[in-house]
Symmetry: C2
Subunit: 300 residues, 2 copies
């Protein structure tokens, strides 16, 4: 089934302890789209400026991503993010953010996108995420990401959004902030009480936790030692997870758990290259091979 | 097979955000012994003062722990530790440490202990750990724990010990300190290069990683929301792991992975009560029931 994603499309400048790379294809919707493209047809909604390099669009299209929902604002500039990773490759400093055209993003879905059954709202202003939902009234599964900024400044809008969602994906520090609870198991259940039928807490290099109607579980990250650039790992996780759900056109408990495992594995490939460079080169077979290894790792 | 453990036996005073409890049965060898007692015969080596409450020895004996190696120094005082957990229940402050008789601990193994095949050296001065090893020349499997203090101040002795060990268990920050590497996968392999045939990195609420001759894997912690007192979780983990290996009298790759899973589960029970209170009340059946749930959690 087609999967619609709405979120940021950006140009990233990334510095790690060993290397600096400029003008990488970045953004939450971009990492999500490429990750989901291994599983299903992806329809991207985003906005860029006239500085947007055409080869980035071509790269997305080469992965089968439908970019007809990518607005180009003539004379505008694309969202840019500049960041530096600390030696542990988990903590990072944002050196510069230029929202540019993304600051005025008013997503309008093409007609054929509006019939989508699977929708992912990548991190964005909650009120804008709500406006997207209202454009896909026939959706079967709507999942969103959020971030500390909206939890702190847009809480009313976020609460309203939570009431409309089937699932919420957020990271561990955000779950603690949203609930005021430092115990992740309690925090996950508390987020679920705010509305979403299921909640996924991303723990970075420590994997992810799932909170559903009848079960709570945790799966570890795939232990890659080749961490080149963690940017977009969380969006890749969500892309792998949602892509698999849309492929199966099912979100029962078993499918959700397998989907979470795919999300974890796709994220492990994402961090093995700068931006989307490594993702561009892998295939579904590479993912399936790692999945076999991951299942073996968890069997005893 | 009998399992010998040498380490600290202590009286703990513990403060959490909601409660303060004094005079708890504590110490690395104690948490280890009780945890291992669900699987095999445990022979404890430690030292206490004449203030040691007899009921603590009785509790250990009720779990089948052989306490004939527990020296009592007349007129001496038992090691005490006082600590406070921060609201996240992971970070803690040590408020007071009184080494007392443990500061002069010179472990002498009873004759029947010296024929042990399975030995665990709980956290202690590396030179003292070495002296224990020399008393069990016919051992089949020797595993040790260590800590930041010895890594920083007793590095030569520790390096010598690493060359004698079959396995080393340490936590994530200690692995980074020991190797100077912030990537845990690389750090684990680097520790292995220092001598031990296998290395286990404990990640607290995030589970544990294993580095063996032919494989690297990670297993998540069991997601308990009932974290009452994390003291001794790492020692309980080691106790469950070593106890299972001694029970099976085997440490091939499959047995090691199952043993690590038991360690994770026993640690999850340990944190559900102050000191060893909850451990005192559970049975092997409780562990097996949680193991079934854990295996289900990791299956998809």
């Amino acid at each position: 089934m087609p999967l619609v994603v709405v979120g940021s499309v950006a140009i990233d400048h990334v510095e790690t302890p060993t290397e600096r790379r400029n003008n990488l294809l970045g953004g939450s919707a971009t990492h999500f789209s490429v990750s989901a493209s291994f599983f299903t047809d992806v329809r991207l909604v985003g906005v860029v400026g006239s500085d947007w390099p055409e080869e980035h669009t071509a790269m997305l299209q080469s992965k089968g991503v439908d970019t007809s929902g990518l607005q180009v604002v003539e004379g505008g500039k694309t969202f840019t993010w500049t960041g530096r990773y600390l030696p542990n490759m988990n903590d990072r400093e944002t050196l510069d953010v230029q929202l540019n055209v993304f600051g005025e993003f008013d997503p309008v879905l093409p007609e054929d996108y509006k019939r989508a059954k699977y929708v992912f709202l990548a991190n964005g202003v909650p009120a804008v995420q709500m406006k997207v939902l209202s454009q896909v009234p026939g959706r079967r599964l709507a999942v969103a990401d959020t971030m500390d900024l909206w939890i702190s400044t847009q809480r009313d809008d976020l609460d309203q959004l939570l009431g409309e969602l089937d699932g919420l994906v957020l990271n561990d520090s955000e779950a603690k902030l949203l609930t005021g609870n430092e115990n992740l198991v309690e925090a996950g259940r508390a987020v679920q009480d705010m509305g979403p039928k299921f909640v996924v807490i991303k723990k970075g290099e420590h994997g992810a936790m799932f909170f559903g109607e009848h079960e709570t579980y945790v799966l570890p990250a795939y232990p890659t030692e080749n961490v080149v650039d963690p940017t977009g790992a969380g969006d890749s996780f969500a892309g792998g997870m949602m892509g698999y759900l849309a492929e199966k056109d099912n979100f029962d408990a078993d499918t959700l758990k397998t989907a979470m495992a795919y999300g974890i594995l796709v994220a492990s490939f994402n961090v093995e290259g700068f931006g989307l460079e490594h993702m561009h080169n892998i295939t579904r077979d590479d993912i399936e091979e790692r999945m076999e290894e991951y299942r073996r790792m968890l069997s005893f």
